[in-house]
Symmetry: C2
Subunit: 356 residues, 2 copies
């Protein structure tokens, strides 16, 4: 017997809500029948959509909220206006109240992070939450964080991300000691990276306590999948994610043009169509949809706002897996296993070895 | 009649030096016959290579240097040991002495930047040099900087990069007023980006003086080619460049696998082979080889160290174009046109408009 996983859904978040959300939930339910949904949003918009999906109707509850957070609302305003009333807030509140195992929204990222942090509170010992992405690589999927939850990170915050990211890797990929790398630039003797160097020392001293510290990695290690978890500050992570998405679209566009270049290439594309379709599915950004908020007392997933029902299906599947694999417990274990001594052990004031 | 362009070459820089360098120069000479080369490096290694290329032998001079900077040498050490003696230093010195129009090396980036800065000195009014990349996009090639010359940048340094990058765009793409964007993250109300916001105000006030300020752009605008020049701090620029390179290789690898997936796809690949070969050439990183050091009193180009003769040919062609288009003059013009008032005009202490 499998236990039931309850997902609390902001049905109004995202450009195509609530239609894409409800359709996505119907698709997700087909794959994971022991899912239950709590939809938060406008009853009069949600109810008619459910009529199309009797199975989903029987596996969900709709909780009416009039208020919807706009996609361009500033986080502080959203929090002030939407606290306790908006579909976004109520979806998180259900996790706090223990009614749901995980919350998901396709709404405004900044507002969702502000509300999730305010409602669920950071876990003890974690200074700031991060957003993790599941990143497809040439090897296997890996975890990359922070994707822009916060801008700027000191050594301790980078170490927090390493603890959180490796817990996610243990939960999602069932790895016992995922490898962790710190994103850096290759240039030797560069200035201004003291936070990364210091985090490297701390992680090196703590390696083996739930993760294996690999060392520094560079931007091209994201696509290679050199390590299981790549840790970086939020601005850099956000730029890297969008650069990779943009580059993938750019190359896909080059490929489409190349295959239309002449008659022979069109014939070739016909022959290869099943393989090319498989490639298209592999590169479909909707299939890896969902940022995971890490470091809070509860699991919150951010779906892309512009996605469709396929994207929501993926993000709901991810939500399910996060809850099923007891992510929060794994993070707690990771924090307990992390040696407190490591955080203070390396003497950062020690001068670097002089060249001979 | 076309004037002669003299390129001063560190013949010993890079993994495949001097062989790849000399072969690349022979290829570059075929395309631009009015090029002259000064090769700095070990006479006994360079001379035999030149025997293969009589045309090149007649268009070059070899200056013997015994000392070669190692690829893992720290910049400060390289500068101490190699100043006035190494092939890298001597290649830059020839530009300073007015013997050459541009210098190029495939050696250690940090060492090259340290030596170039020490030898040529930053231009008056420019606090720190930057490294610019020519970035292929869905629209056209664009300029992105800084690629990691320095880590961390305040508002004034970002503005310097905008002046330098737009001068490069005017020189290389023959644009009169290239559009300039500042790389940022999409999240509203994020903290820690004061330098970018402040630079945005300055550029906005100065828009029209040799460039058109577009506003903020995000990581995916790199591949789209939304603007002609994208300005960012060196750590972010370096990660973005390597992430894009890595992602392009990742997608190319997916494509190769897809086309080998089954008999039909193999047949398809045969039919489409000419189009796929054209795509491969388009995506060949060797064809866009060369980082441009900007902000110094002289032009220095950094070639990828691991490239072959095709890569050197590209980087030498880029060097030629930089010299021919009188990049340094264009930067000088750009700095003169930039309104001094703009740098101090916007009152950054003014509180942001309160939401109604």
């Amino acid at each position: 017997m499998t236990e039931t996983i309850t997902i609390s859904v902001d049905a109004m978040g995202g450009d195509n809500a609530p239609r894409a959300v409800i359709h996505g939930a119907a698709l997700a339910l087909r794959e994971r029948k022991n899912t239950r949904f709590i939809f938060h949003g406008r009853q009069e918009q949600i109810a008619p959509l459910l009529e199309e999906f009797p199975d989903l109707k029987g596996a969900c509850e709709v909780r009416h909220c009039e208020m919807v957070i706009a996609s361009d609302e500033k986080p502080s305003q959203a929090l002030r206006k939407g606290k306790g009333t908006s579909s976004m807030w109520m979806s998180i509140q259900a996790v706090k109240d223990g009614e749901a195992d995980v919350a998901i929204s396709g709404g405004n990222t900044g507002a969702l992070m502000a509300m999730a942090t305010f409602c669920l509170r950071p876990m003890e010992g974690i200074s700031r939450p991060g957003i993790a992405a599941i990143w497809p690589t040439l090897r296997t999927d890996i975890i990359v964080l922070d994707m822009g939850a916060t801008i700027g990170a000191d050594a301790r915050q980078l170490v927090d991300y390493a603890i959180l990211g490796s817990a996610l890797a243990r939960a999602l990929f069932d790895q016992s000691s995922p490898t962790v790398g710190l994103l850096n630039v290759g240039t030797e003797e560069v200035k201004g990276l003291e936070s990364i160097k210091e985090a490297g020392k701390i992680l090196s001293a703590a390696s083996g306590s739930g993760f294996t510290y690999h060392g520094f990695v560079e931007g091209d290690d994201l696509g290679k999948g050199t390590v299981d978890v790549i840790v970086t500050e939020g601005f850099v992570g956000n730029v890297a994610l969008k650069t990779a998405e943009g580059t993938a679209r750019q190359v896909a566009s080059y490929l489409r043009s190349a295959l239309k270049a002449n008659l022979m290439s069109r014939i070739g594309a016909l022959f290869a169509s099943s393989a090319l379709n498989a490639l298209r599915r592999k590169m479909d950004p909707r299939t890896v949809n969902g940022g995971v908020f890490l470091g809070l007392n509860g699991i919150v997933i951010k779906s892309h706002g512009g996605t469709d029902e396929i994207g929501y299906k993926s993000a709901l599947g991810l939500s399910y897996e996060m809850a099923r694999s007891r992510l929060i417990d794994k993070i707690g274990e990771g924090m307990q296993r992390f040696p407190v001594a490591a955080v203070t052990a390396p003497d950062s004031s020690e001068p670097e070895a002089k060249p001979a």
